[in-house]
Amino acid sequence: MLFGFPILSIVIWLPVIFGLFVLIIGNDHRLVLVRWISLLGSTLSFIVALPLYTGFDSTLSSMQFVEQHIWFERFNVYYHLGIDGISMPLILLNCLITPLVVVAGWEVIRNRTSQYFGAFLIMSGIVNGVFASLDAVLFYTFWEASLIPMFIITGVWGGPNRVYAAIKFFLYTLLGSLLMLIALLYLYHESEGSFSILSYHQLPLTMTPQILIFLAFLLAFAVKVPMWPVHTWLPDAHVEAPTGGSVVLAAILLKLGGYGFLRFSLPIAPDASHYLAEWMIILSLIAVVYIGLVALIQQDMKKLIAYSSVSHMGFVTLGLFLFNGYGIEGAMVQMISHGFISGAMFLCVGVLYDRLHSRQIADYGGVVNRMPIFAAFFMLFAMANAGLPGTSGFVGEFMVIMGAVKINFWYAFFAAITLILGAAYTLWMYKRVILGEVSNKNVEQLQDITLRESFLLTLLAIAVLWFGLYPFPLTEVMHVTVDNLLEHVMNSKL
């Protein structure tokens, strides 16, 4: 705690309070007020989260900013918060993306605006809660609660097939979570009445329970990441969600899965993780290569980016199960960078969609003639998505490939295919949408991006380039934590 302030609690509850406030004052007649309060709330939440970075001691591997109070004694459950080098960058990413989402929805959402912004603010707080919880019940509560706002956002403001997508999203993730709940209850039983996640790390477990626990967690996290073959909800949810929903989904919610592996699967069931690592790597490589091929043939821009997300998240799971520093740090960098890049890509598609109300690649062509500034931004993000050196997309992928080479050449070989595939599907889409002659009358009438839109894209562009050229601040904060985690995972619990 810095200066005695419970910073983590503020970071979690401030956006929630603002969200509730927006819900209460909101009706569609007070649009301006609602927008500004939402922006104020999300920006304040980002500002209060900054001390987490400045006050963070990156030489410590233990939990920092710890808060612990009894929540309910009946099951020995604590309100226990704390962050380390793994969760801190993710919380900051989340706090940064939320104001961007508010700005992205500024003029676009005119229907039940207060509910829209309220849902995003509440979700932002809940997601911070997921990353900061050190008690299993608290974690699970935040984890499940984050489904509700996303369900509403997709279902109310989404595209034509939104209801199907929203329910699919909810049920898929719920299935995974419920099995995780059983695993947590088993751990509670084994640890003789403790829900502390950190105590689970030290809990000795034999091989069979470890494998079962690993599989239960796997389903929960694999659905979130999402890994092949449980990824099918993601393209549907992305395509139907409003732009802001897609951004948050790609930039934040997918990271919950990767975070789960780091916080639960690896340290609680290290032997099972080693035992099943090859399978995990194979699943990841299928995601990287096969889903990359699937992305190639998409006709719908959002779907293409959604598949590219699955492919990029394959790198994260690949990196995690290499069990070396490059792999895990690469996975972390990839998660953060994917947050910026995919968020930016969805914003770019949102910019086009707001104008023409179509996501079909075929409806565009020659956009560069009418929107040159936008085309430049889109080019940068497309390149980053393809993993061009100098952008953040390159750093994570490169680190993971480096990690993979040390284990097995063929892992690295297949992983590296993505550099070709990523370039192929992203740039081909770019060519068809942006380049060439103006293809139809609608494109003819396009206006270039507004100040609001260029502000958003500039911020993300800075982030993408910064972490591409100078990733040190990011790797520095996580280095000690990752080393410590690796050391823990290398020790058998048997």
């Binding site: 929540w71 309910f72 004694e73 009946r74 099951f75 039940r112 509910q115 019940v137 699970y140 509560t141 499940e144 609660a145 489904l147 509700i148 369900f151 509403i152 279902g155 109310v156 939104r162 209801v163 929203a166 329910i167 909810f170 049920l171 719920l174 299935l175 419920l178 099995l179 709940l181 059983i182 209850l185 088993y186 509670y188 039983h189």
Partner: protein, 481 residues
């Protein structure tokens, strides 16, 4: 022969309520329709009076009276307090609904209170005959309440079905009790427990008695495969009565089950455990799967009740204090959610219109966002999504059975409740994602609006701070056994 007057103090709430019912029935004779509110107020005062008496005499001490036929302990007190609260909520939610349907009569209130008295007796009984008295007092009042709307064919059919099947179940129960009596020679639960452990009794006879008792209990709890009456009765009854049947009697049935199976036949736990596993799994499966196909929300909630009762039975399967207290917590949570859900149905209904089809909920968020939010809380709670109380209820029950080693049972329960989540989500989907079919404004009466808000928020707040109810359940179970 000297006549010793029994100690009446443990039964003060029951005695008070009985006197009040008599007064209400008498007073009501002299009221005309415009003054009927007096009966309504008087009924609420009676419940409040009972609550005060129960609360004042609240102690963790176990007191027996009437030669050990009647028991007053923390469990009975806390369950009774919940019963008063639930019945009071039911009466307030129903007021407008029954008024426009011509059911705002003295009978509704006196029958409700008689049913309440029956539940109180069931909760406090420790003797087979007393159980039966309480049960019949409750059941007969309920049969009459279902049939209260005389000109409705649906309600009459429901009442008939309820009566015939209910009588059959009571018969089962009585037959089981007589077998146990035959084998042990005792009617007091504590003495039966003692007899089973000390005397050499033919196990077969006991088991046959046990099977009948479990079947009778399962009927009262509406657990599958003895659930057939529930959907028809829920759908056919006026919503006010459905709400009554679906809420408070489950608390009584829980108390009843604890006293009979655990207090009385605890020595046969190994036998009834297996039976309850079948009942619980069947209830969760049938409840959750069949509910998906329903288009009538009352029928859907009937199946939802069946699945919730499956979860309550899971708590019993653990056969320890941890499990029983989880089951008790679950029942309380269930009642809180059900009362709210039916409350919303009644608020949305108006003269000549029953909001009982799922399509009536379309676009509720546009018609009345606040009610839609409350309904969403209730549905999420029933689906077991944190931070609603329904989740913590499921958590504690699952925790209890995982602790006993029934992991496969926990996984089955979890998968079935995933199926269940679908139909709760469908309500949210209708309310939020679709355009309204009718645009009549929703104008809840002031008191109903306040109460439904408290009810909905209670589901959230007791979820965020579940310790009070959890601790109470645990303490109640621990001190009562």
């Amino acid at each position: 022969m000297a006549f010793l007057s029994p100690d009446f103090s443990p039964a003060y709430p029951e005695i008070f309520l009985l006197i009040m019912i008599c007064i209400i029935m008498l007073v009501d004779l002299f009221l005309d329709n415009d003054q009927r509110y007096f009966t309504f107020i008087l009924s609420l005062i009676s419940l409040a009076g009972c609550a005060v008496i129960t609360f004042v005499t609240l102690s963790s001490e176990v007191q027996y009276t009437f030669s050990g036929m009647f028991v007053d302990d923390l469990m009975s007190d806390s369950l009774k307090l919940m019963v008063y609260l639930t019945v009071a909520l039911v009466l307030i939610y129903s007021r407008n609904y029954i008024r426009v349907r011509g059911m705002f009569k003295g009978e509704f209130f006196s029958l409700s209170l008689f049913a309440t008295l029956g539940m109180m007796v069931m909760i406090s009984a420790s003797h087979f005959i007393v159980f039966y008295l309480g049960l019949e007092l409750l059941s007969l009042s309920l049969y009459a309440m279902v049939a209260l709307q005389r000109d409705s064919a649906l309600a009459t059919e429901a009442a008939m079905k309820f009566f015939v099947l209910g009588a059959l179940a009571s018969g089962f129960l009585l037959y089981g009790m007589s077998m146990i009596y035959g084998a042990t020679g005792e009617l007091h639960t504590s003495k039966i427990a003692e007899a089973i452990q000390t005397k050499t009794i033919d196990h077969q006879v006991l088991i046959i008695g046990l099977v009948f008792i479990v079947a009778g209990l399962a009927f009262k709890l509406s657990a599958a495969p003895f659930h057939m009456w529930a959907p028809d009765v829920y759908q056919g009854s006026p919503t006010a009565v459905t709400l009554f049947i679906g809420s408070a009697p489950k608390l009584a049935a829980f108390g009843f089950t604890i006293r009979l199976l655990v207090d009385g036949l605890g020595a046969l736990a190994a036998d009834w455990q297996g039976m309850l596993i079948i009942l619980a799994v069947a209830s969760m499966a049938i409840g959750n799967i069949v509910a998906i196909m329903q288009t009538n929300i009352k029928r859907m909630l009937a199946y939802s009740t069946i699945s919730h009762m499956g979860f309550v039975l899971l708590g019993f399967i653990a056969v320890d204090h941890n499990g029983y207290s989880s089951a008790m917590f679950y029942v309380i949570a269930y009642v809180l959610m059900t009362v709210g859900a039916f409350g919303i149905i009644m608020i949305l209904s108006r003269e000549g219109f029953e909001a009982e089809n799922l399509s009536d909920y379309k676009g509720l968020n546009q018609r009345n966002p606040w009610l839609a939010l409350i309904m969403m809380f209730l549905m999420l709670s029933m689906a077991g999504i944190p931070p609603m109380i329904g989740f913590y209820a499921k958590l504690s029950v699952l925790q209890a059975i995982v602790n006993t080693g029934f992991i496969w049972l926990a996984i089955t329960a979890v998968v079935l409740s995933l199926i269940g989540a679908f139909y709760y989500l469908r309500i949210i989907k209708l309310m939020y994602f679709e355009a309204p079919e009718h645009n009549a404004p929703v104008l809840p009466s002031f008191d109903a609006k306040i109460l439904i808000s408290i009810n909905g928020l209670a589901v959230l707040i007791t979820g965020i701070f579940p310790q009070a109810l959890m601790g109470l359940s645990l303490q109640a179970i621990q001190t009562s056994m």
